[in-house]
């Protein structure tokens, strides 16, 4: 099953206004522990977009103190789980697979969403939650060390490469990458399937949305086909290397001081929110 985006959803250009929509009843679970570190800002961004979240230590799920079944959105946030030992995201994925696999399969079979950002994407990839062709949870992609050989932190522009529930109404995201292993690699066959099934959600691009064509620094890590994020075959799982949650406000954007001056000279109102909020509104919109 593929969840297609509404064809005629209005394109939101530039910066969105703060939503007045109420909080939804469904809750999100944000994984934590063992070096995951972006849980607080992830909780904050979800709250601003209209969804309450619990930050849950993986050990509390394993011990049964918390249950995945109480939640509708599962988020693996950014971080450095296990210090990237044995490969970024690998050790945390092993801990999930070795302890929580049955619960996770049940969650995936429900009408639920999963989001993995940065280290979270690396965990999803090692769990095989993306691409998950035909619900087959195998490791089909790898997020290898960056071409530059080390962690790199900088703002990147992202272009939606598919119409799906996550990308709806997004013209461009502009947010930081901060990873050492984000260089997406897969077999030619897998790449073809990702393209055919429109599973490439976001690609690195220039500020004017023209493709990065692998060129540094627009494509910061050497990812094949400039891929920054992909969905699962059923569209309900999104993995993304860059961090939209770290730039939820206008003043978080790298170029905000210049944009502010330009807007003021034109008599435009300077926004408070950034364009990156739309991604989270989309996820939450799925439950509305």
């Amino acid at each position: 099953m593929t969840i297609a985006a509404q064809r005629n959803s209005p394109r939101v250009t530039g910066l969105t206004q703060r939503s007045e929509l109420a909080m939804i009843d469904e809750k999100a679970l944000i994984m934590s522990g063992f070096g995951i570190n972006s849980e607080m800002e992830t909780k904050e961004v979800l709250a601003r977009a209209g969804m309450d979240a619990d930050i849950v230590h993986i050990n509390d799920l394993i011990a049964g103190r918390k249950s995945l079944s109480e939640y509708r959105l599962l988020v693996f946030p950014g971080g450095f789980s296990y210090g990237d030992d044995t490969g970024a995201g690998n050790a945390y994925a092993n801990r999930v697979r070795n302890n929580l696999w049955v619960d996770l399969l049940e969650f995936l079979d429900g009408d639920n969403l999963v989001l993995g950002i940065c280290n979270g994407f690396q965990i999803l990839a090692n769990l095989g939650l993306v691409p998950a062709f035909d619900k087959h949870y195998a490791r089909d992609i790898a997020l290898m060390p960056n071409r530059g050989g080390r962690l790199e932190c900088r703002f990147v522009s992202l272009k939606p490469a598919a119409d799906n529930l996550w990308t709806k109404g997004i013209e461009r995201l502009y947010c930081p990458v901060a990873h050492g292993e984000g260089n997406l690699s897969c077999s030619a066959d897998t790449l073809l399937r990702l393209k055919r099934q429109k599973m490439i959600a976001f690609t690195y691009c220039h500020d004017d949305l023209t493709p990065a064509y692998g060129e540094y620094p627009w494509n910061p890590n050497g990812s094949v086909e400039d891929i920054a994020g992909i969905t699962s075959a059923d569209g309900k799982v999104l993995g993304l290397m860059p961090h939209p949650e770290r730039a939820m406000e206008f003043v978080n954007l790298y170029d905000w001081p210049l944009r502010k001056e330009e807007m003021r000279r034109k008599g435009l109102t300077v926004p408070t929110e950034s364009m990156n909020m739309q991604l989270f509104r989309n996820a939450i919109g799925y439950f509305r």
Binding site: F34, G35, F80, G83, M144, L151, R246, P257
Partner: protein, 980 residues
């Protein structure tokens, strides 16, 4: 059963880093065609073995099969010429090994028995033609002999068998005990024990420096003689730790000459803060100053922010990566250990190193033995260390700097700082206050204790020479600390599970427990309860070990069960090691026997007082002889390409500066990506406020006049924050003195003048000191290649770090020129002040006239600029600092990728005008519409220089001086560290 060893080798089928790794090694001069890297896991078990199938399962868990392959008990066979395997020495923390072990335990639902482990190593397979000597040199580049073991094989030796499995198990004798030490000996021998350490009765070797002088040794002898007994080794070691320069700051605490009877710290640092706080009255911003692990100021009605800057110089000289890593995670613990636990929210760094292009042939020993590391190796290592520490811990590292001077070749300075955030109160409890109570359990949580870091505190109190202990190096494990930090700050603190907390840094538990014991007046420790990395450590070693990632807490008996089960549920090891008491004593037991019993009075205040004498001699340097060139294009290119002025963006971008989502003004700014001098970060979600950080440091002024040097550092630290819109009355500062040869009256004379400068300028600006640290012996003593003794001392270095609160970050300004047609102003006077300047250094001289400042005048000026910024009249602002107005203008243009047309006054020599380092100045750009309002606000301070526009930076006085495309300036600014 017999012990079982299995070896799993992991490699990429197509290694994405191969090209970069090979080219980095080639750039260091090795004729290497390809440098492959294989990750090796060595499994060591004694209670069970793994079958072939099980090894295959383990291998699968350790790779991503899309891009990686593994081989179990089979050597990797690819084309290569030499194999170099780099593993850890016994006892060195192996983080990856520990993770692999947990994965295996999870997968098979088993637990490794005591002594069983997974060890990791890296196997480099080298293609190329290298001589044996070159091969050795390559191995040294890939490994650090202090922490690594290296095995080299040729292709033939490697054959079909591959490398030999190595299990780096620590073998130590069983159950050592505390020994008594006879101090009833000749003064000379007494002094020798103080300098070189106690003689170990088993090995006959000295155990390493105590850094106790003869007077201190006599005081110890007399104290125990009065009790009619001999001290134990653990008692002497403990006193050495507590009395060390590193912990007690004896030089800053001692009486000096006739006019400073209370010592520099009380007279100039603490007194400045007290005076400022009294003068500010209701507007006092300080919460806790000097007494806790960090200093703190008010953020808003609900939150406070903390700041602390530490140095980790000696460890970084020996092991740059490990030293810098433990430096940053160590200062993170000063945040977690502030009050009842603040959350680390911003990291800060600063490096003083030698020119990475020079290779000083200096040695710690004679006959070219133990060469010092090259500045390039040190730079690479410390940059990586602080990066790994911050990145792995999820703490953004936006603000920092890097300064080059060849007087830092023997001992680099590595500054590491952390800002924390904490609510002032939780459920009616003031979180910035803490007090252990008699009867509370002493609990140590976090990592285990090993031999790493023994004598760290005493060794950093001595000059670095051939006797520097190798175990003084610690290896950090940021993830262990992250787990500990999360459970403390996010859970245990607000569940009120403990009454007091402090970090284990220098001196380990000997210092942390004894320090907390002051809160309740006593402690009783059962040292055999302390969890160890391996058996066989002597009690004195356990007591003073500086193994990382540990906090000490005071847990009330009724909270112990909740505390311990919470720790267990978060995979954090916590152990009760004793009880706090009110006995007035620090008592330590080892397997039922008391091995230490010292009164807290003697432990903390028993060190004999010193009275230091200083002299001050003004040095005069020849003024550089030069004439001003007709055109300054070439000069400007050279200035922008100077290592102290050019872009070190390669550091900024490998440090995550966006985690926690508070990025506002980052380490590089504008379309042209220029490194800023101040950064701004939101630390409380939903608040409009932000935390600004900046710094000032002018070691090149120190030898000319350390008093004005201190003034320059304070003004620059403050001005960086003023430029982004942080008002003066919210700013606090921190002092870090890194001096040299502090046993010489001349150096102490410079120190006294610098401290006097700190007092005067801090009081005039009204910016309180909230925390500080000093490191007094940054000297290297060794030999050159001909065995001539060489001493290299750092220039007296004072880092002033500033922290301030921005009221509304949306009104902050970045440094880049923004819109064509904007007006360019300089705020502040330029005088001919080029002594110690980057320009004089370019000309090959030093000079004598360093910048003076009138803080009262500047205070009024900064207030006016703050008004202009608050009213949003300014489009960009950038402080004029190292390199003067000329380089500041160029950087503003580069950042905006916009040209400028500038006219400068013709009264002064134009090169002097452009490159003088006069203080108190800013370059600002202003929209033409705001011209009148801005000029009304800033008054005569603001001088209009020209306009933003075009593609070139043009500077004219009575003639055209400079006309350079911004693209060319950009290239000059970015070229020196391209490829790093």
């Amino acid at each position: 059963m017999e012990s079982c060893v299995h070896r799993i080798e992991v490699r990429y089928t197509t290694d994405p880093r191969l090209k970069m790794r090979t080219s980095r090694i080639r750039s260091l001069g090795f004729a290497v065609d390809e440098l492959h890297l294989i990750d090796v896991y060595t499994l060591y078990t004694s209670t069970r073995d793994f079958s072939k199938t099980e090894l295959a399962d383990i291998g699968t868990q350790l790779v991503n099969p899309v891009v990686q392959k593994f081989l179990a008990d089979t050597p990797t066979q690819i084309p290569f010429d030499y194999a170099i395997e780099v593993g850890f020495l016994p006892g060195v923390t192996d983080n990856v090994g520990a993770t692999a072990r947990q994965t295996i335990e999870d997968f098979f639902s088993l637990k490794f028995a005591e002594g069983e482990a997974v060890y990791t190593s890296q196997l480099f397979l080298v293609s190329g033609t290298l001589s044996p000597a070159e091969l050795q040199k390559l191995a040294v580049t890939l490994a650090n002999p202090l922490v690594n073991r290296v095995l080299i094989k040729t292709r033939t030796e490697y054959g079909n068998k591959g490398m030999d499995p190595v299990v780096p198990v620590v073998h130590l004798d069983e159950l050592p005990t505390a020994e008594t030490v006879n101090l009833d000996i000749e003064d000379m021998e007494l002094a020798r024990i103080g300098k070189e350490g106690i003689v170990d009765s088993l090995t006959g070797q000295r155990r390493g420096p105590l850094a106790l002088d003869l007077a201190q040794m006599r005081a110890i002898r007399d104290n125990f003689a009065a009790q009619g007994r001999m001290p134990t080794d653990i008692e002497i070691e403990s006193l050495a730790q507590t009395w060390s320069e590193h912990c007690k700051h004896t030089i800053f605490a001692s009486a000096m000459d006739d006019d400073v009877p209370n010592g520099l710290y009380k007279t100039f640092i603490q007194a400045a803060t007290n005076k400022i706080r009294a003068e500010k009255g209701d507007k006092d911003i300080c919460v806790t100053v000097f007494t806790d692990n960090s200093g703190s100021i008010i953020f808003d009605d609900t939150y406070l922010v903390t700041h602390k800057v530490e140095t980790h110089n000696s460890p970084s000289a020996l092991d740059p990566f490990g030293g810098a890593l433990t430096g940053i995670v160590g200062v993170n613990r000063d945040t977690i250990g502030f009050g009842l636990g603040a959350k680390p929210c911003i990291n800060f760094y600063g490096y003083c190193v030698g020119d990475p292009d020079c290779d000083p042939a200096l040695f710690r020993g004679k006959n070219k033995s133990t060469p010092i590391l090259s500045p390039r190796q040190i730079l690479d290592g410390v940059v990586r260390g602080v990066g790994v520490g911050g990145n792995c811990s999820g703490i953004p590292t936006p603000q920092g700097w890097c300064l080059f001077d060849n007087r830092y070749v023997g001992k680099p300075l590595v500054f590491a700082g952390t800002v924390g955030v904490m609510p002032l109160e939780h459920a009616g409890r003031k979180l910035y206050e803490k007090e252990a109570a008699p009867g509370d359990f002493i609990v140590v949580a976090g990592g285990r204790v090993g031999k790493d870091g023994i004598h760290g505190a005493t060794f950093s109190s001595e000059a670095l020479d051939h006797a520097s202990p190798v175990t003084a190096v610690q290896i950090g494990d940021p993830i262990t600390q992250k787990k500990l930090s999360d459970v403390i700050v996010n859970e245990a603190r607000d569940q009120e599970l403990y009454r007091s907390i402090t970090d284990n840094g220098a001196g380990g538990i000997s210092c942390s427990v004894a320090e907390m014991a002051k809160e309740c007046n006593g402690c009783h420790v059962y040292l055999d309860k302390v969890p160890l990395k391996y058996h066989g450590m002597a009690p004195w070693e356990i007591w003073i070990s500086e193994s990382q990632e540990r906090m000490t807490l005071a847990v009330p008996p009724e909270k112990l069960d909740s505390f311990m089960s919470l720790m267990q549920s978060r995979d954090v090891e916590a152990t009760v090691i004793g009880k706090f008491s009110d006995s007035g004593k620090c008592v330590v037991e080892w397997h039922g026997k008391v091995v230490m019993e010292i009164t807290l009075d003697f432990l903390h205040d028993g060190a004999p007082k010193k009275h230091l004498k200083t002299t001050y001699l003004k040095t005069t340097y020849p003024e550089p002889e030069s004439f001003c060139p007709d055109r300054l294009d070439a000069t400007m290119r050279s200035m922008l390409g100077r290592k102290n002025l050019c872009s070190k963006e390669f550091i900024s971008i490998q440090y995550d500066h966006t985690v926690q989502g508070g990025h506002v003004l980052g380490p590089v700014q504008g379309a042209g990506r220029v490194q800023s001098l101040a950064t701004l970060t939101k630390v409380v979600p939903g608040s409009k406020k932000g935390v600004g950080l900046s710094q000032g440091i002018f070691p090149s002024y120190s030898e000319i006049d350390s008093y004005l040097m201190a003034g320059a550092a304070i003004d620059t630290a403050i001005r960086g924050l003023i430029a982004i819109g942080v008002p003066l009355d919210t700013i606090a500062i921190l002092d870090n003195f890194c001096w040299c040869s502090s046993d010489e009256p001349e150096r102490l004379g410079q120190l006294k003048r610098a401290a006097q400068g700190c007092y005067d300028y801090a009081v005039q600006f009204g910016t309180p000191f909230i925390s500080g640290k000093d490191s007094m012996y940054n000297d290297f003593s060794g030999f050159d290649a001909e065995d001539n003794p060489v001493k290299v001392s750092v220039p007296p270095t004072l880092l002033i770090s500033s922290i301030g609160i921005h009221a509304d970050v949306a009104k902050s300004v970045s440094m880049d020129a923004k819109i064509e047609g904007d007006l360019v102003y300089v705020i502040g006077e330029t005088s001919e002040e080029l002594g110690g300047s980057e320009y004089f250094a370019l000309l090959g001289g030093i000079g004598n006239t360093i910048p003076k400042l009138d803080a009262t005048l500047l205070k009024a000026r900064y207030g006016r600029l703050t008004d202009a910024l608050t009213h949003e009249l300014v489009a960009s602002a950038f402080p004029v600092s190292h390199g003067g107005l000329g380089t500041a203008l160029a950087k503003v243009a580069i950042a905006g990728q916009l040209g400028m047309d500038i006219t400068i006054p013709s009264a002064m020599r134009p090169d002097y005008y452009l490159f003088s380092e006069s203080l108190g100045r800013f370059v600002v750009t202003v929209a033409p519409d705001h011209k009148r309002a801005f000029e009304r606000c800033c008054g005569a301070d603001a001088q209009l220089l020209g306009r933003v526009g075009g593609k070139n930076l043009r500077i004219t006085s009575d003639k055209l001086l400079l006309d350079l495309p911004v693209t060319e300036l950009t290239n000059a600014y970015k070229a020196p560290f391209r490829g790093y």
